[in-house]
Symmetry: C2
Subunit: 311 residues, 2 copies
């Protein structure tokens, strides 16, 4: 375990994570907090960053590589977007410097798809992507990064050809908190998962995604007519949204194309179940590990040149 | 214009409407209030009803026919459901009496579809349906009743064979109020409609409903990348939800089957636009007129027997 060579920061809308990493890419220490972009925009980005570096006794002048919403227009310094189609490796060298800092701080750019029909943006997930697949991988890669806004990306021979954002996580949240279905799921968090209801919902929505908003209403009707439980209703809503998402995501891709799932925890289990149910081939990469690997790849490209790495 | 023969009440979750109607079905007077089921459940259903009858100087002992949520389990008296498939005309005679009243008060039943795969319920719309199409009509009828929970019903030779509820209106509401897209539509209510954005969204979602939750995210990405306006974002969300709804609703119906749209005001205009955009044949029936006609048909079947009507 060596000395810290750089700090890597994943700075989201409502979360902040920082790792001190040595020259070999080994994580030496970590900080997590809720000082995301929203908080830092009022308390100060530099102040938040420096306080966490101090808490870890980071060496003076250690450089910092950042991804995520800190690079948004309303963030610290706007890091712009790389437009698709783009070489995945272009992310590595597209970082923007934060001026006036006592250390070298760089923020990685997001990705934009400027089509009129399907405009889309991501910020933070491009770094996960970078850590999830090899920049020089051959052939077609389909990467699924589930979350509040699930991202599905297609990469062919190292080129990001396009991507789609599905509002699955946020829709689940607003539907179960603010719609009439909030009554249907009351108390579900205390119960074990309902695998049968999940399977039925994933299959039904995958087969007929046009019926998605009707299938979720079945969570209420199923309680009135069949005594569906709260946890069954929750599984029906969640499974419907995920089934429809997967149907849309693989619309223009062969059903046999292997999916790389970048996830962890509850979402990993949920999406792995869905892929099993639909007999879709996949491999899983831990989301935290992927973002750290992506940040490290960028840090190495910027600060650790090839001679030094091979020394 | 004759004497009042009966009162007709459409008693929803959050609204109450009452009409005094003569033997010929002519509306003599009307009351509207926000004393829906939710309010009446605490202030008393009989009290609300009697206060409105008094305000109109309704004759003593006038009978009252009611449809809607007053017949729900948590309403005044549970009026149950007729199970599909059911004769449309069975609604006419399926009313439940409210005991202990100083007048004859009857509440019409709802409809239930007890399939495991697609459980569904309606309460109130069955009476609109009754007023929208002739109970003895031949052939296939597709009826669309848009709203918070849009209902699509298939009737063949006077038999309700099945129906689907799409949560279109409520999803539009929670998405534009509680999700990240709330920022995208801020200020839209003050602007004229964006017909081009509506058309593009209806077509895109109808053609690829699996992409619906991705297409609505385009409301945000379109603002970041193309300067999409708030009213354009609103049209994109609304058009996507409606386009996906129509795709799902006619999934098992020929594209040439005429749709009977039961709607009024803003929703009528929106759905008529969508049917035009998709080149789907339709006819429109006013929603208020339909529910009154349905209530009147039930009142006549119960209280005005054939001899008296032909006298």
């Amino acid at each position: 375990m060596g000395r810290p060579a750089y700090a890597a920061v994943d700075w989201g809308t409502s979360s902040f994570r920082l790792w001190l990493i040595d020259e070999d890419g080994t994580v030496l220490s970590e900080r997590r907090s809720s000082e995301g972009m929203t908080t830092a925009a009022s308390t100060g980005f530099a102040e938040v960053l420096e306080s966490h570096l101090s808490a870890l006794f980071a060496p003076d002048g250690i450089p910092v590589i950042v991804c995520g919403m800190a690079g948004a227009r309303q963030g610290w310094v706007e890091a712009g977007y790389l437009d698709t189609p783009t070489l995945l490796s272009a992310i590595l060298t597209g970082a923007v410097s934060v001026p006036g800092q006592k250390r070298d701080v760089r923020i990685l750019p997001g990705l934009a798809q400027r089509s009129k029909q399907a405009p889309d943006v991501m910020r933070g997930e491009e770094t996960q992507l970078l850590g999830a697949i090899a920049a020089d991988a051959h052939g077609e890669q389909i990467v699924c990064m589930p979350g509040t806004h699930s991202k599905w990306v297609r990469v062919v021979d190292g080129v990001v050809t396009g991507f789609s954002t599905f509002m699955t996580g946020e829709l689940f949240d607003v539907i179960t908190r603010h719609s009439i279905l909030s009554h249907a799921v009351t108390g579900a968090e205390a119960m074990p998962a309902d695998a049968d209801a999940l399977e039925a919902a994933v299959k039904a929505a995958f087969d007929q995604p046009a019926l998605a908003t009707s299938l979720i209403f079945g969570a209420r009707a199923g309680q009135l007519l069949h005594g569906l439980t709260a946890v069954g209703a929750q599984a029906r809503i969640s499974g419907t949204l995920i089934g429809a998402e997967i149907a849309g995501a693989i619309l223009n891709v062969g059903k046999g194309t292997a999916i790389t799932l970048v996830a962890s925890g509850r979402l990993q289990a949920l999406y792995e179940s869905a892929f099993h149910i639909l007999s879709l081939p996949y491999q899983t990469i831990d989301a935290d590990a992927a973002v750290r690997r992506g940040l490290s790849a960028a840090a190495k490209a910027i600060w650790l040149n090839d001679e030094r790495r091979s020394a």
